[in-house]
Amino acid sequence: MKNRLKVLRAERDWSQADLAQRLEVSRQSVNAIETGKFDPSLPLAFKLARLFGLRIEEIFLDEEQQG
């Protein structure tokens, strides 16, 4: 699933390792989510949303809705 994680991370000057530490997951997990190869569960998506102070749909893009 496409997402804005890389941009959001860059805005805060966080590395993948920094974000992984904040989420309590491995750096590989952040990389897999960021590159759209792994879709996080709802609890992890909510955790991401809370961390960035955004709504889930502001981070993850609904490709079906976008056409």
Binding site: E24, V25, S26, Q28, S29, N31, A32, I33, F38, L44
Partner: protein, 134 residues
Amino acid sequence: MFCSIKSPAQRRFVRVCWMSGGLVAVLAVAAAAAFRLWHLKGLPAYPVAVLPALPILWVLFETGRYLAVEKDEFQRNLLVQCMLGGIGGTLATTTAWGYLEAFAHVPHLQTIWIYPIFWLFVGLSMPVVYRRYR
């Protein structure tokens, strides 16, 4: 996943796998020695014969425990995919070998090899699964 072990759950799981591997070897040698020394037969032979399988049951239990306690869902997902590869490889190999035994009279495959074959295929699945997420 286990190339760069991070979480305490992963560390514990890997430690248990190594310990159980060692225990299987020790208990297999001990069981063989017991049968050779005391020529065990009948009921007393069963618990001694099954001793080397106990660490294997321990690893199976710990695998389930790891999947339950690991907080990193991506890491859990990686192990599950590798284990699916292990299950598929084991089923394919043992089924094919069964037909080979039945029709081509190849040597009999003892069932104690099924567990190592499973982990062999789990190991072989790892680079394939990891490449997907590189």
